[in-house]
Symmetry: C2
Subunit: 553 residues, 2 copies
């Protein structure tokens, strides 16, 4: 438009780095990070520490634009700082899952071309093992930097290893931060946990991280100076991007090395936590904690949950304790939560069962994600908003990944027709809210009927003696597949397979009720998701329940 | 980065249009706009009306990308709708000040190349007059569309004029919204009110509007589904961008044709308003309302004020009524508020006078604005954070305008050295908070000393009999200039010039106290700002107070 120009005065590439730079002024004396009894930083201190770290990375370790820096650590202050320090050096942060073994860590270090790896002392042996594996086939192994956690080191000191604090000491506050040149430049590389296949490297951009962090603030209704308890691993989608959100709002990060019910209640009470998040396992941990550990809450605590819909019993028990549970849904590819079951005030007075049913929906897209839809993956036509017609859940918007690192084919497939295909199957209700039915890979086809394993599982969860349950298809010569339930019973409860099948038949169409029940511990990924592919293998090994051409149903 | 791509699945140009499209689903049955006793729209209705309007603009009036559509209307629902409908047609919204006369309107219609003008029935004669003036020199006059306000028309019907509702009726819901191709494409053209010079056309972009709207949500601490009372004109910086913010949060817009204390209190009570904003004149209106009109508030009401710092008496009275006043500062060029005096909880218990003093600061930049600084305009060096060293307030970030329409020279001057120069003088306190001292043009130089007129005015405001005050320099043969105060006294109060001068000398260094006091009504711009250039002219006409070479001080 005539008279206008684009210049440094009116255009700055979006980056979460800006959040920290602003908080260092606006919230300079407010607590940024607290940890244990001794670590308490202000936003100015956190800012200064990050600048110094970035300076050391750039000048001492020659980290420059586009380099990858890995980290293997739990939710400790250093892990938080690296979320800013690494991007400030122009580099890309690759947070590794702390449940990985040396082999997997070596695979990911190699795939990511990591130049450095920061390692928490607890995981030092894993990292050393990984580097040993790498050094067999290449001389290019990443430099290891130890995070000793408050100066303590288990075992003997290892002077040959550089410590995190050395970087701080070497760093300079005069360092000129390397902001992204293009706001779509990468900021993070997150390997998927691999419920179905080998890990893929999901690339996040500065723009996506900025917009998702603000969206997370809004969807969590986080006011400025809120207090966030870190129960979701920061290595998982950068803590659903809340690492950056907290800098935007000048809140306080309460760090926890290990998540236990005791630590959760004590932290809430001590630091007046206002927000937290957690997979259903964390909610279970809270409600099943011994009464003595269940300290009264100082105020309402909002809890964002994801992964699986919270069963009504869990919801009810959480509410009784003073927690407000919100259900969200997303994937690593969408920077964590992409939809949330936005609560309508008029639902407040519905009976618990109805509320739980509504809360179990995945809901609607957050502000940063342009659009979510349920579509026929072939014709790309949207399903009817009838709560019945099943389609694939798809996303579109600025908070969808840049792609899979070094795998352009997988990137192109997942973005076919201009939408990111989640691989999840769902329906759309008349109010526009999405409800998941299954993973495309998980759905059972029995006698030509589609069976949503999520629906069967939700009935199993309602049984008072069931703690955990997962349903997969068992191959069948007659039916094609039949539902097979893997169940973990609550401590002190007894339950027979026949009783559970009878219960399911009372609450489900007959063809949907499991025909097989196996009681055992469920195999899980490091982020707490059930590994259905393991169960499917087990069910396969059981063989067919009915002989060919014969129906026992 | 290897394996990544940019496509429709992961990149969408930022635009406030997205807010409305999302709210049409997420908040579909919630109230979007209420007005008077009869108008109540939901977000789905607002969305559908805007799509239909956009469709009519595009198909019936051939409005296309880059065209300008003007509007002359108060805060009515149609004014709100045009903030989305016009951009949805790919066009640029130009909101005109309703206090302008036909001559000024004709100048702006011509300068902006407006193709259409929407006119509220109250301002029809102004618009018709403007078009008459234009048609004397050109055949290209904008098409006029009348907004009759609920079907009512004062005077006789005018069948030759197209009505707003005709566009709705002609419109189609199938219209494909014209989103910006580049997110920096213009969305609005806002003419400055011209306190000092002729109006300039400030260009806003989709990107800037999107980011500023989200920043406004955060700086106002607006939760989803909040209720906003429209006391700030939407024609002023698009209502400080809150027109778009409200769509982002699915809130309710309470529209008001005319701002009176009665209407404010009634609206708050009826609609449970949570947020509003207003120039100091609006605050004065509230606290000086008759007791019978001051209905009790249903809850805390947050009020963002701007323009001038609220005097402690005003603050105190507002707080007693249940309002929470925040002070912000910005310019048309920064999309409205750019800084806000972010409140620290530890200030809650300070004495009122101290709190008022802190609240009068302009504070710190909001989240969308990258940086604010106080700099020497020549060397570009930042001032010390000592609360004393005066410099020019400068801004940098994505919520700074694209430039001045058709005035590249003014654009380049204002962006010199990569910062937007506000023309305001200020200091920076040790906590990083900014405090304005004066407009560069307003500062008085007396006997070689700089006198901040804002400081003199704040002392005048503290006098219990003073309602309004403005200080300018009166030319002086000996001193160069001396301070001259124009004062409006509160109803029922008496005050002499000598008493007021004596009062100032008790509270200010002698050289800063006014030497002349004039009691009269203050001339103001349409947005309520005092027109100091008019007062300066008056002071000039008074002539020198002291003869050359003689000092009477």
């Amino acid at each position: 438009m005539d008279g206008t120009i684009r210049c440094g005065a009116n255009y700055v590439p979006l980056s979460p780095i800006s959040f920290l730079e602003r908080s260092a002024v606006v919230y300079r004396d407010r607590l940024s990070v607290v940890y244990g009894d001794h670590v308490r930083f202000t936003w100015q201190q956190t800012h200064d520490r990050c600048v110094k770290l970035a300076s050391s990375l750039a000048t001492r370790f020659r980290i420059s634009r586009g380099d990858v820096v890995a980290v293997l650590a739990p939710n400790i202050p250093e892990m938080y700082e690296l979320h800013f320090a690494v991007p400030m050096a122009g580099a890309i942060l690759c947070t590794l899952n702390i449940r990985h073994d040396s082999t997997m860590v070596s695979t990911l270090l190699k795939h990511s071309n990591s130049k450095l790896i920061f390692v928490d002392y607890q995981f030092l042996q894993i990292a050393i093992g990984a580097i040993k594996i790498m050094s067999k086939s290449t001389s290019k192994v990443p430099q290891l930097i130890l995070i000793p956690d408050s100066g303590e080191l288990s075992g003997q000191p290892m002077p040959e290893i550089i410590h995190y604090n050395n970087l701080l000491e070497m760093g300079s506050l005069d360092f000129e931060i390397k902001r992204p040149i293009d706001e779509c430049d990468p900021i993070a590389l997150n390997y998927t946990s691999g419920t179905t296949s080998s890990p893929k490297g999901v690339v996040y951009s500065h723009r996506g991280a900025y917009l998702n962090a603000l969206s997370a603030v809004l969807l969590n209704e986080m006011p400025s100076m809120c207090v966030y308890l870190w129960t979701v691993p920061m290595f998982h989608c950068n803590g659903w991007c809340l690492t950056w959100s907290m800098a935007a709002q000048g809140g306080t990060n309460v760090c926890l090395r290990a998540v236990t019910a005791k630590a959760i209640f004590e932290s809430i009470s001590k630091h007046k936590v206002t927000h937290m998040a957690g997979a259903p396992t964390v909610l279970n941990m809270i409600i099943n904690a011994p009464a003595a550990e269940q300290l009264p809450l100082p105020g309402k605590v909002a809890v964002m949950t994801g992964g699986a819909p919270p069963p009504s019993q869990v919801l009810f028990s959480m509410e009784k304790l003073g927690f407000d549970v919100f259900h969200s849904y997303g994937l690593t590819e969408t920077y964590g939560p992409a939809t949330v079951c936005t609560w309508k005030p008029e639902w407040d007075n519905l009976p618990l069962e109805t509320r739980a049913k509504i809360k179990s929906r995945q809901g609607v897209n957050h502000l940063g994600l342009e659009e979510v839809d349920v579509k026929d993956p072939v014709t790309m036509k949207s399903v009817e908003w009838d709560g019945k017609m099943i389609g694939e859940v798809m996303f579109r918007g600025n908070t969808v990944m840049n792609g899979y690192f070094k795998d352009i084919k997988a990137t192109q497939e997942s973005f076919k027709d201009g939408w990111f295909r989640s691989g999840d199957l769902g329906v759309r209700h008349s109010d526009g809210y999405i409800e998941l039915k299954d993973r495309s890979k998980d759905i059972i086809i029995s006698g030509g009927e589609n069976i949503s394993t999520i629906e069967v599982e939700s009935v199993l969860f309602r049984h008072p003696a069931v703690l955990e349950a997962a349903v997969v298809g068992r191959p069948d010569d007659h039916w094609g597949e039949t539902p097979c339930a893997f169940v973990k019973v609550k401590e002190g409860c007894e339950l027979s397979g026949d009783d559970l099948i009878a219960y399911c038949r009372e609450n489900l169409p007959r063809y949907m009720a499991p025909r097989t029940v196996v009681f055992e511990e469920l195999p899980k990924t490091s982020t707490g998701k059930v590994q259905k592919f393991v169960l499917r293998q087990k069910a396969k090994e059981m063989g067919s329940l009915t002989a060919k051409g014969k129906s026992k149903l």
